[in-house]
């Protein structure tokens, strides 16, 4: 398996790169989508739609907000990005590759036998904070991380991703309740509302999602999750440490950036023929242009 020598071990002072332009973030989001398409191509099926949908938010997280050290993924003062939906692995691997935690060569092993990059995330991989295949685990662990960081006097933040379907797991709300009780203002949740779950469209009515989080004591923004300017603005609005945990409800479109996949609406687990990938990659470039 490919390994990588890192050279950026002195980057402990990496902070949020709030001076990055939205245009530059747009380029990063495109790169993330390209990497996801590269991983998915030829695999026949997978959770590509969710990955494409959250690419814009991940571009903001990894290239504007997250303080981390790609050369030292276990740096104790790092901000944690907790991807609770392990089946979004394709998106996380893309982000970890583009931020130079993983090597680009390793991406081609995605989903293959013996790969370190399986269809669902496992925490033994550098840069992966939690094992996420069983939904409802990320929020509670993020609360624990936020408590631990505060206990140690570290000013690092925990950025948690949960999905709308995952809000049906009661454990997510147990954690939401605890976070506000413990006044964890170093925790920010990204609630990816893409409107799909395994059995298709939302099987339970979750709305109003933002009001639910507010009623649990969180400071909440709700934005178009594929509008980079809106995501950036939401992050900036929620930067204060006022005792309340923060949440951004992201209204995302699964398959965003590749119209054919986007049109396969309500597709939790997209099936794509081997002969379709070249055309889909071309669509991605045309959509961005």
């Amino acid at each position: 398996m490919a390994t990588r020598e890192h050279t950026s071990a002195t980057a402990h002072d990496r902070g949020p790169a709030t001076d990055i332009t939205v245009e530059a973030l747009r380029g990063r989001a495109l790169e993330l989508r390209r990497l996801m398409m590269r991983m998915a191509a030829g695999k026949g099926e997978g959770y590509i739609a969710q990955g494409l949908g959250i690419a814009d938010a991940l571009a903001v997280v990894y290239f504007r907000e997250l303080r981390h050290d790609p050369g030292n993924p276990a740096w104790p003062d790092r901000d944690r990005f907790v991807l609770s939906t392990g089946h979004y692995s394709i998106a996380l691997y893309a982000a970890l590759t583009l931020s130079e935690v993983l090597s680009a060569e390793e991406l081609d092993s995605f989903g293959l036998n013996g790969s370190r990059l399986p269809l669902s995330t496992f925490e033994e991989l550098e840069g992966v904070e939690v094992t996420g295949g069983s939904l409802g685990h990320g929020a509670g662990q993020a609360v624990g991380m936020a408590l631990g960081l505060r206990l140690d006097g570290r000013d690092a933040r925990v950025i948690l991703e949960v999905s709308d379907g995952e809000l049906q797991e009661g454990s997510t709300w147990e954690a939401a309740m605890a976070a506000s009780s413990f006044r964890l203002d170093n925790l920010i949740a990204l609630v990816d509302c893409n409107g799909i779950q395994a059995d298709g469209p939302m099987v339970l009515d979750l709305e109003p999602v933002a009001d639910k989080w507010r009623s649990f004591g969180w400071d909440v923004e709700e934005v178009d999750g594929n509008d980079l300017t809106a995501i950036v603005t939401a992050f900036d609005r929620l930067r204060s440490r006022d005792g309340r945990p923060k949440a951004i409800v992201l209204r995302t479109s699964p398959g965003k950036g590749v119209p054919t996949i986007e049109a396969r609406e309500r597709a939790h687990f997209v099936r794509v023929g081997d002969d379709e990938w070249d055309a889909l990659k071309a669509e991605l470039e045309e959509t961005h242009a």
């Binding site: 104790p76 496992f122 925490e123 033994e124 904070e129 939690v130 094992t131 295949g133 069983s134 409802g136 685990h137 929020a139 509670g140 662990q141 993020a142 609360v143 624990g144 991380m145 936020a146 408590l147 631990g148 960081l149 206990l151 140690d152 009661g170 454990s171 147990e174 954690a175 309740m177 605890a178 009780s181 413990f182």
Partner: protein, 342 residues
């Protein structure tokens, strides 16, 4: 059958403590240990008063987190704290945490070897509240989780040693907690808990009792009484249920005429099953009787009352050891012979 009072209000304490005891060995030991190790934190799910963690909570309020009635969250938050370098001791009742938070123990903790120590109260039959509060199945559940360590201490001496020892175990540990006035059976100047090692506490070749948890005290009592009747009864105490000390069990079994396995757990899936597996795999054949909790939802009642129902009272265990038929007063079939003597 109505038989005395249920003794509601005992909340999982070992009853009828006649000899020496220690109050709240878990919490007192944790408080001592935490003074030495700043990375220790403590958590509970609204069971601070009933898990004996309060001595720690009073000494280190900033390192104590009560997450409310939320067992899944208890384990998840502990795992998150562990990922920031903490050793997270978390406590609630065994029945609640193993049944409701199993996925969080398995995937959230054990899978990543999270430094989480689950101190699980009221194991087996130590309360009068019936099936909701009686973890009669927790050993069978936890023993199947890879990379998890499972310990069932027998008294205050061992529990204190275990609480200290597990701080140095890299990974997730499940401990059956004894609360309240916990009897002292083992001499703290002599006994040394060793992770993964079963200990012969009494020698004897006529019959051998393999036990774990607080019934080991009864095993020692029975062995002494049997000796008075000319029966040499050995006792092997298996504090660490997982990893299981197969070698010690096989060696002990080879040195006795017959075995009695005694546990505060259902007779299937726990210690007896582990013993049978070990003996069978090693080709050791010895008559074996299982004394444990029958597989049924239990009636409410005092510990004495319930123990009698399952043949776990002193008379029942003594009958089994003396070869006078099991203590099973309710259901037939407690006697299991896994093969003739080789």
């Amino acid at each position: 059958m109505l038989d005395g009072r249920q003794r509601a209000g005992t909340m999982g304490e070992v009853l009828d403590v006649k000899g020496p005891f220690v109050v709240a060995p878990f919490g007192e030991t944790l408080a001592e240990l935490a003074a030495e190790r700043p990375e220790i934190v403590g958590l509970t799910a609204d069971m601070g008063r009933y898990s004996d963690i309060l001595p720690f909570a009073r000494a280190f309020p900033d390192r104590y987190f009560n997450v409310g009635m939320a067992e899944q969250d208890l384990i998840s938050i502990a795992a998150g704290l562990a990922s920031t370098g903490k050793i997270a001791y978390c406590t609630t009742y065994a029945a609640f945490v193993t049944r409701r938070a199993l996925d969080f123990i398995t995937i959230g903790c054990a899978h990543g070897r999270a430094n989480v120590k689950i101190i699980a109260g009221m194991p087996g039959l130590v309360n009068p509240y019936g099936a909701t509060h009686q973890a009669t199945d927790d050993l069978s559940i936890t023993r199947l989780i890879p990379d998890l360590t499972v310990i069932d201490p027998c008294d205050a001496t061992e529990l204190s040693q275990v609480i200290r020892a597990i701080a140095d175990v890299e990974g997730t540990v499940y401990v059956r907690n004894l609360r309240g006035k916990v009897p002292v059976t083992l001499d703290p100047d002599v006994h040394r808990f060793e992770l993964g090692r079963a200990k012969v506490l009494a020698a004897g070749s006529d019959v051998g009792i393999v036990s774990c948890g607080f019934p080991t005290a009864r095993a020692l009592d029975v062995a002494a009484r049997a000796a008075a009747d000319g029966i040499a009864c050995g006792v092997l105490h298996v504090a660490t249920v997982k990893p299981f000390d197969r070698e010690a069990v096989c060696e002990f079994a080879a040195g006795v005429e017959r075995l009695v396995v005694l546990e505060n757990h259902q007779r299937s899936g726990g210690l007896a099953t582990l013993v049978v597996e070990a003996l069978y795999d090693a080709g050791v054949q010895v008559p074996l009787e299982r004394l444990g909790i029958h597989e049924r939802f239990n009636e409410c009642g005092s510990q004495d009352f319930i123990e009698r129902q399952h043949g776990l009272d002193l008379a029942g265990v003594l009958r089994a050891v003396m070869g006078e038929g099991g203590g099973d007063t309710v259901a037939a079939g407690s006697k299991t012979d896994i093969g003739g003597k080789g």
